[in-house]
């Protein structure tokens, strides 16, 4: 049927190149469709996300330990959160972590996506694509468990391997720097696959002709990459970055299983203090307050990204 031969066939690249054609049709039948189609998502999220969020916001102004009745305390939870050194450090850790992790994740994913697209037999490309995507199908907790074994200072395989190279035993999980590095590596290891996938789609959408035209004009590899590839995949970059940052700001599983936030507070993250406040210190009001601060932070960062995107993202 002729429908399958339009000029712009559906691709994953389409996910990342909006603005192509948002056809707006407003008709009577359309209204019914809008309502029915939005219902599951809007009602569902309204019920299971919004109501709990509102409950949480309200709770942030109370002191509640589940067992006794809630007591109103005004802004006390927020003040305590701001003056608590552990919470401050956790937020700083989280922000620092996000900057490094997302940069690393994007760089690795982009590099590998570019490499995988280069000339090679189809089966080999499929092999690389599959294996690089693999860590995503594993559970974060299991991965962290395995990594804890591997990075054990005395007996882990990593240090054994380094020993073979003549390097002494590194205190991976026993020093602040080491622990942060391990959490970072494990997180990026697990999550780069998705970004990698996004980039594959974005790169695939760049038409061959553009490169050919620029080659005729005398442009070489690196310049081509900087001036053609990067701008053309900037929509993909935006989506990848936004998703990566929102995710990284909420990191919990890896540091929780690997180090429980230690040594000291070196690998404690914002979501960890939320969990600990709620379920260890029986301070649900305090936990909600911290949760609100984190959510506002995520919204702020996302908003900034979208503002910046107006200047840097090029929609072809």
């Amino acid at each position: 049927m002729s429908i399958t031969t339009p000029t712009a066939a559906p691709t994953t690249a389409a996910i990342t190149a909006p603005g192509a054609a948002a056809g707006a049709s407003k008709r009577g039948g359309g209204r019914a469709l809008i309502a029915v189609f939005l219902a599951p998502t809007v009602i569902g999220l309204g019920l299971f996300s919004f109501i709990p969020i509102i409950a949480s916001v309200v709770l942030a102004f109370f002191r509640w330990d589940i067992i006794t009745a809630p007591q109103f305390v005004g802004l006390d939870n927020f003040v305590r959160a701001a003056t608590n050194p552990t919470i401050r450090v956790s937020f700083l850790n989280t922000i620092g972590f996000v900057i490094v992790a997302v940069a690393l994740q994007l760089a690795v994913a982009l590099l590998l996506a570019v490499l995988v697209q280069s000339k090679m037999p189809t089966w080999l490309r499929a092999f690389f694509r599959s294996t690089l995507f693999f860590p995503l199908i594993l559970s974060a907790a299991s991965v962290s468990l395995v990594m804890a074994y591997l990075f054990n200072q005395e007996f882990g395989l990593v240090n054994q391997f380094l020993g073979l190279l003549g390097i002494g035993k590194v205190g991976w999980l026993t020093t602040g720097i080491g622990a942060k590095t391990v959490v970072l590596l494990v997180y990026v290891w697990q999550n780069f696959g998705f970004t990698f996938l996004l980039f594959l789609g974005g790169l695939a959408a760049v038409p061959q002709e553009v490169y050919e035209a620029s080659s005729i004009d005398g442009a070489t590899g690196w310049a081509q990459f900087r001036q053609i590839t990067l701008p053309l995949i900037s929509p993909t970059m935006l989506v990848a970055t936004v998703m990566a940052i929102i995710n990284a700001l909420q990191i919990f599983d890896q540091p929780y299983v690997l180090t429980r936030g230690g040594p000291g507070d070196e690998t404690r993250t914002a979501v960890m203090v939320i969990y600990e406040s709620a379920f260890r210190q029986l301070d649900f009001g305090g936990a909600s307050a911290i949760g609100i601060v984190l959510t506002l932070l995520i919204m702020l960062v996302t908003g900034i990204q979208f503002q910046l995107s107006k200047r840097f993202v090029f929609y072809g």
């Binding site: 559906p10 054609a21 490499l115 599959s130 199908i137 996938l197 929102i246 949760g291």
Partner: protein
């Protein structure tokens, strides 16, 4: 391919073919290394009677002996499949509307939907449990499924996807007399299969492996999903055998792997269509 041109032609691009393969193989090694170690450890359990380490499936047999693996797998399969299908449907429908229709407060509504992605699960889990209980589905698998049917992330993805499809198709269909429902079901939805595949696969992976939500939302043992069930293998005060624990991890990897393998084709179609390959 376009980037192939970048790499094989540009003299200024220093990597070259050998470098490319070295890097890729190194990346693959780092990616698969821990997985292979896990599988090997699971396959080399120590024997409690003969006190030797041997190669074999004893650790796997141990897992089946200690916990009702098939029940947990069945629970996980039911929950994950229903969530994946549900999310594909709800995301496709909502994403379509956001992509192709205009209406009052559209931007606001979409923004609110996105905002729900920015609140950590730990903050809202207790109210969710109370809601689930209010609905009368506490301590059932439905408690895990129903709250996960709507998806902000999936809606976002599908919206992007539908926005990438040309409006001309819909307009042509309109001219041919097709109503909005038909336009969706006959024209746009079939074309959206790769996007749906991505939503489905990601939903499957996330919910197959999740631990915290099932921990809080289920009560009876018969309702445990596989990640919950595997905790039993860790033994009293952490004395369970490492091989057994890792055998459990390997077992839980297998269905995800199967979905992954079968999902490769639609994924590939989504990635390569339109690139002239």
């Amino acid at each position: 391919m376009s980037t192939q041109a970048v790499l094989s032609r540009g003299r200024g691009f220093a990597i070259g073919r050998i470098g490319t393969f070295v890097l890729l193989i190194a990346a693959t090694g780092l990616t698969l290394g821990p997985v292979i170690w896990t599988v090997i450890t699971a396959l080399t359990p120590s024997d409690a009677v003969t006190h030797t380490t041997s190669f074999g499936f004893a650790a796997f047999a141990d897992v089946f002996a200690k916990i009702p693996v098939w029940l947990y797998i069945w629970n996980s399969v039911l929950v994950t499949l229903l969530i994946a299908v549900g999310q594909m449907l709800s995301a496709a429908m909502a994403g379509y509307v956001f992509a192709r229709y205009e209406f009052r407060a559209k931007k606001l509504l979409f923004g609110m939907i996105l905002a729900t992605m920015m609140v950590p699960l730990q903050v809202i889990i207790v109210p969710v449990f109370m809601l689930v209980r209010g609905m009368g589905v506490a301590d059932t698998l439905l408690a895990l499924i129903i709250p996960a049917l709507p998806t902000a992330f999936g809606t976002f993805l599908m919206r992007q996807y539908f926005m990438g499809l040309p409006a001309e198709l819909g307009e042509a269909a309109q001219i041919d007399g097709s109503g909005p429902w038909r336009t969706f079901f006959r024209i746009y939805l079939p074309l959206a299969t790769p996007g749906l595949a991505i939503v489905g696969i990601l939903a499957f992976n996330y919910h197959w492996n999740e631990f915290f939500r099932p921990l809080i939302l289920t009560i009876s043992e018969q309702n445990f999903t596989l990640p919950l069930g595997l905790v039993t293998l860790q033994g009293n005060l952490g004395t369970g055998s490492v091989s057994t624990v890792l055998a459990g991890v390997v077992i839980s990897m297998i269905p995800a792997l199967i979905v992954f393998i079968f999902g490769q084709k639609p994924l590939r179609e989504g990635l390569t269509a339109g690139s002239g390959k």
